[in-house]
Symmetry: C2
Subunit: 343 residues, 2 copies
DNA sequence: GATATGCTAGATAACGTTGTCACGTCACTG
DNA sequence: CAGTGACGTGACAACGTTATCTAGCATATC
């Protein structure tokens, strides 16, 4: 009784399978069998082992198990910012699917920084996650993931597509969404429609701009660059943009805001002005209906986006070998008043 | 050249340190030394090893490394629901601190279910996270964590305290917050103040009720149970509660809503009614200032909550052995109009 | 009663790392 | 010129599991 008769003194003093085996007076593998519910174990042995497990408070070391097994039952989720309600809803959906599949989820935010995205994604891979769900940062190039994907990591991109590699993506119908917004405003009689969105390097912003421009042009209207402002939707930026769009002989009578951040920034700025142009925002947001007037939006469903991406990821993890695919999730117009202000 | 001269065919075909050693014609340990930047390696060796690493596209297996090292550099974050903006802000803060410390973060939602919380927390522990940040589910009893904590896992509770064990906690000043709200409404002349909050099993709801009751009583006013409604803030529930509080000979002239969910539910319901009682909500929320009238709130800072908890966690992980502590984060009244409606 | 069969149990070798140790080699010292 | 370090290197065991394989033993078969 010189050294530990109880739990080993190793990793934080936790008992190991070996400790259990010693205490129960059985072989290591027998404990393993009991822990994993393998069939060929006698009643008596199983009982002894279970008693020893109980006595020691043993719980298996998942890390060691998975090292041996060669997979981790972990998925990494990389997004721009968990604190953004749009992404947190998406994260919730991914998390649910992961949990349903018995996987644990790593989460991290790239803060729209390509280098940070890369670091985090590779950190996940170093932990040997089985799969990745990624909302790419604006200027990211995903060739860095090539070796990881070749090594078996499954990557699914959400909200924005991968750049430089072929990979599954689940996107919103950004072009269709803004087209719908433009059509809606044109029907109300608007002819001068401004567009305020995130920086043009951001995929969704660029796509939404395309929808805006295409629909205008298809409707026989001019595409006027001076009515477009793209950049990080900070108060200053939005204020300046609105100053310019609302001034002059032909001010805009309607606005399209390119995402939830931009919409909120526009609303906040408009609340200090006499003019109240019509407004359609991309992305729905809580309380949009309670504002006065309610904010008309192009809603798309972050939960559907996240769930679809995660489902696809797990299909692939379960062996599905179909070709790389891009899934587009529909958007829908939710008229609430702000987009229905007549000219 | 019969078998793999290139990368091994093991775990998903990834090259291992052994493969690198073989290719470079050096010992295993030398590769390890180069990878970890240990000092005593000759220039020439290091170069050979680096070339082999490059050629093979080797990246070290963090799981194996950490198994050997006995710690995982992972923290688990368990909250009620990532999709709730309050918690996602908190999550963002925890994530930042984790990242700054070189840790990765597991995230999971208990969905306010004690059993699910337990399962997830234990799943984190089975992965041998070094620490846990937990927002407890309503009726949870945390004695299940005792063995884990004894084994060295550091647990810090946020927003709600641990039950059944002594553990660090970072809480908002819930009692003080509602006391402030009551004082504020009393000053406006209100005497019939309703209180609508989450179910009483939830710590914060109970504390906020206490603040409400204590302040009323201290001010010499009766505590009237019929003005209190506690339950899951669903539309039906809130509607019924308001029906009852706003009816009769002495309707409430002011309301306190116990959290962001309740505030939104109340606002939504009130928007369909002629009466517009004064309202103070607990928790600030985006757009509160843009509603008409702006919503007066007791703001507390989820980011501060999360950051403080995470900082404490890492202090402990770095060896700090001070006594268990409870940190209270101040709240502050943000008057915006809805609480200033005179009787 | 001897052999074939089935089942349980445990030794042993992995998984991919790092820590410990022992072994050269070389320059420096007395 | 032998003795002493310091330095560079690699064998080997460990971390806590699981997979493979073999041994033991009881039962079934002829």
């Amino acid at each position: 009784m010189s050294e530990g008769t109880q739990a080993g003194r190793r990793t934080g003093g936790r008992p190991t399978m070996n400790d259990v085996a010693r205490l129960a007076g059985v072989g290591l593998k027998t404990v393993s069998r009991v822990v994993n519910g393998e069939p060929r174990v006698s009643q008596a042995m199983a009982e002894r082992v279970r008693a020893a497990i109980e006595a020691l408070g043993y719980s298996p070391h998942e890390g060691a198990r998975l090292l041996r097994r060669g997979q981790t039952a972990c998925v990494g989720l990389l997004l721009e910012d968990v604190a953004n309600p749009f992404y947190s809803a998406l994260a919730g959906a991914v998390e649910q699917v992961a949990r349903a599949n018995g996987f644990l989820l790593f989460t991290a935010s790239s803060e729209e920084d390509a280098e940070q995205e890369r670091e985090l994604a590779l950190a996940f891979c170093a932990r040997r996650v089985d799969g990745l769900v990624i909302v790419p940062a604006a200027t990211a190039d995903h060739r860095y993931l090539k070796p990881e994907i070749d090594a078996g990591v499954v990557a699914v991109f959400v909200d924005r597509p991968a750049v430089g590699i072929a990979a599954d993506a689940v996107l919103a119908d950004n072009v269709g969404g803004t087209r719908t917004a433009v059509v809606h405003l044109l029907r109300q009689g608007h002819r001068r429609i401004g567009f305020i969105a995130d920086a043009a390097e951001i995929f969704t912003a660029a796509q939404r701009l395309r929808g805006y421009r295409d629909e205008l042009v298809d409707s026989g209207l001019p595409f006027d660059e001076s009515l477009v402002a793209m950049g990080h939707p900070e108060p200053h930026f939005v204020h300046a943009a609105l100053d310019s769009m609302l001034a002059g002989p032909e001010p805009v009578t309607a606005l399209i805001a390119g995402n939830n951040r931009a919409t909120v920034a526009v609303l906040r700025d408009l609340s200090t002005r006499p003019q109240q142009p019509a407004l359609v925002g991309f992305d729905d947001f809580e309380l949009a209906d309670l504002l006065n007037p309610g904010v008309t939006v192009i809603a798309h469903d972050p939960v559907a986006l996240g769930k679809t991406a995660a489902d696809l990821l797990f299909r692939r993890l379960q062996g599905y070998r179909g070709p790389v695919q891009t899934i587009e999730i529909a958007t829908r117009l939710v008229p609430r008043g702000s987009g229905e202000i007549p000219r």
